[in-house]
């Protein structure tokens, strides 16, 4: 048997180009349906797990999927903004604990998530390095975001402007990194968490600037009365919150009108959740409440339906590839007829010659299986993250 395997191996190694094509073709026959199955199954598990861990989401009426994807994975388009007053509606009668979310801005592609400390408790996120954010202008980063941005506690990150020509007041804000979170194998690993107020500062609802009441600011004051001071464009607006300028930061307008992208509602119990959902049933209601697990299930049903078609297509392609591979083997036998005749003439046993041909096929199939298994393992390790990114983008 060793001699047969050796000869088969020599043949395959000599014809390495043909062998590589055959191995690649047969690998795809195995890998495509199985890999797809693994990919979809794992992605479904991960997406569903995150959704199941989030009981209810409140947002402005619109696409439930967009709301869920933005609030859970921080990846989708920003849903239409809602007001902070929604917090009080969610919390009324003590039906649920509200956790506000403001996920609109980014730091070099990593989402800035404005929220409260309740979020960290809710998601069981712990600080691995440094400390929890404590004052305005501080942030804590998921471990992937910290690694990719190359920051550690004590360094700083700057929010990216929404557009290059954004003149509406969304200025970049430099934020001090207070801590880095432990890995959670979730989208939180890629997030830059800030206090809700810090998010509002980036939004332009709050700001800090040079004191206009002092004599050194006289040249910057256009007009002044008892309540208001109007400054000109020379007034210095702070783009970083530091201990020395923190006191100058203030907010304008009614806080209840400040923007949120969503509110996570954690109902007291199942019944409270049902009652809360009932509040949002009205057709005239401008807000919506969704169960993220239902929304993700709908998405996954669509994905699974597509998967069935894709698998069916793979099976057809697989049969076709298998038939082609068989043809290649048959043609190869024809081309090798003289070689086979030579072996028979010099006294090669029919069994060994047949075993040689069969071993070549077996080795090609074996290599394909090993490669297919390796690719499936790679898919299991990295595919779910890739498909998640694909689904939410």
């Amino acid at each position: 048997m060793r001699d047969v395997v050796y000869l088969a191996w020599r043949y395959l190694a000599y014809n390495r180009f043909k062998t590589a094509i055959l191995v690649a073709s047969i690998t795809l026959i195995f890998y495509l349906p199985i890999g797809l199955q693994v990919l979809v199954s794992q992605s479904a598990d991960r997406l569903t797990a995150r959704a199941s861990a989030t009981p209810l989401l409140v947002g402005t009426k619109g696409s439930p999927l967009e709301l869920v994807l933005n609030s859970l994975y921080f990846e989708s388009e920003t849903p239409e903004l809602m007001t902070y007053s929604e917090i009080e509606r969610v919390a009324r009668d003590g039906l649920a604990d509200p956790i506000p979310l403001h996920a609109r801005f980014r730091v070099r592609g990593f989402p800035i998530v404005g929220t409260t400390l309740d979020y960290f408790q809710f998601r069981d996120l712990r600080v691995a390095q440094g400390e929890q954010m404590a004052i305005l202008g501080e942030c804590v980063l998921g471990h992937v975001a910290a690694r990719e941005l190359g920051v550690t506690p004590g360094s700083s990150v700057t929010s990216s402007p929404e557009t290059a020509f954004d003149l509406a007041g969304v200025y970049p804000l430099r934020m001090r990194v207070a801590g880095v979170l432990e890995p959670s194998d979730s989208p939180d690993d890629r997030a830059v968490f800030v206090d809700l107020k810090t998010a509002w500062v980036i939004e332009g609802r709050g700001h800090g600037h040079q004191n206009l009441s002092g004599p050194e600011a006289n040249s910057a004051v256009l007009s002044q009365d008892e309540k208001n001071v109007v400054g000109n464009a020379s007034v210095v607006e702070y783009q970083e919150i530091t201990p020395t300028n923190a006191a100058s930061f203030h907010f304008h307008g009614d806080r209840s009108t400040y923007p949120l992208t969503a509110v996570i509602a954690v109902p007291r119990d199942e019944k409270a959740g049902v009652i809360l959902r009932g509040y949002y049933e009205s057709e005239t209601e401008s807000a919506q409440i969704v169960r993220p697990d239902f929304v993700m299930e709908e998405l996954l049903e669509t994905v699974l339906a597509v998967q069935r078609y894709v698998v069916a297509a793979f099976v057809v392609v697989g049969f076709s590839t298998l038939a082609t591979s068989f043809l290649v083997f048959v043609l190869s036998l024809r081309l090798r007829r003289r070689e086979i005749e030579t072996m028979i003439k010099i006294g090669g046993s029919r069994k060994r010659v047949a075993a040689l041909m069969a071993t070549e096929i077996a080795l090609v199939v074996l290599f394909s299986l090993v490669l297919g298994a390796f690719l499936t393992a790679l898919t299991a390790w990295f595919g779910a993250e890739a498909i998640r990114a694909f689904l939410v983008s």
């Binding site: 001699d3 047969v4 050796y6 000869l7 020599r10 043949y11 190694a13 000599y14 014809n15 003289r338 070689e339 030579t342 072996m343 028979i344 003439k345 010099i346 006294g347 090669g348 046993s349 029919r350 060994r352 010659v353 040689l356």
Partner: protein, 235 residues
Amino acid sequence: MIRIEALEFSYDSREFRLAVDELTIESGERVAVIGASGSGKTTLLHLIAGIVLPERGRITTNGIDVSALSEPARRDFRIVNAGLVFQEFELLEYLNVLDNILLPYRINSSLRLNRDVRKRAVELARSVGIGDRLSRCARQLSQGEKQRAAVCRALLPCPSLLMADEPTGNLDPANKARVLDILLEYAEASGATLLTVTHDHELVSKFPRVIDCKEFHFSSSASGSGGSELEREGP
């Protein structure tokens, strides 16, 4: 000793027929088989080697009735007792020279490949001047080197019967002489019987005995003959 009695053979698809009433080749004889194209020289070798079977008659080699053996037994007989050399060398292009020489040991379990055999293969290759080509692929060899590698493959199992089918047909004069000398030296040294089919009358002179196949060829209604034989003194 090879003994053929009342042999008749034909191919289904051709009108060709071969008939040999009686032919005896003693052990250790060196015989050139000549004849025109299609006269049955190669067929005669194939019959003696048991590659094809006669319709009638008997072929006995070293006391074994080859024509009565089953196909697997005839293959075993060939791999152990008969070394075959072909005009087109018939080396396997995906094997290097050493693996080509060792091929008989890998395709039939009647021969056991071990360290001694490998050592012998290397020595054999050195003795015919291709010792430095062992790791090369067959296609990287010259024609003469290819045929010497093919001869080594035939000689490695130390066959008692060596059959070469126009072994010098594709070689230049220098290589012709060299390959033929290797075959003759082996036959001389081992006492093996050597049958060489050739068209080359220059080479025929090196064989003590020549068998002309033209008399073996006959029509279906005619009777067979013992062939036309020319006995010679040694070269």
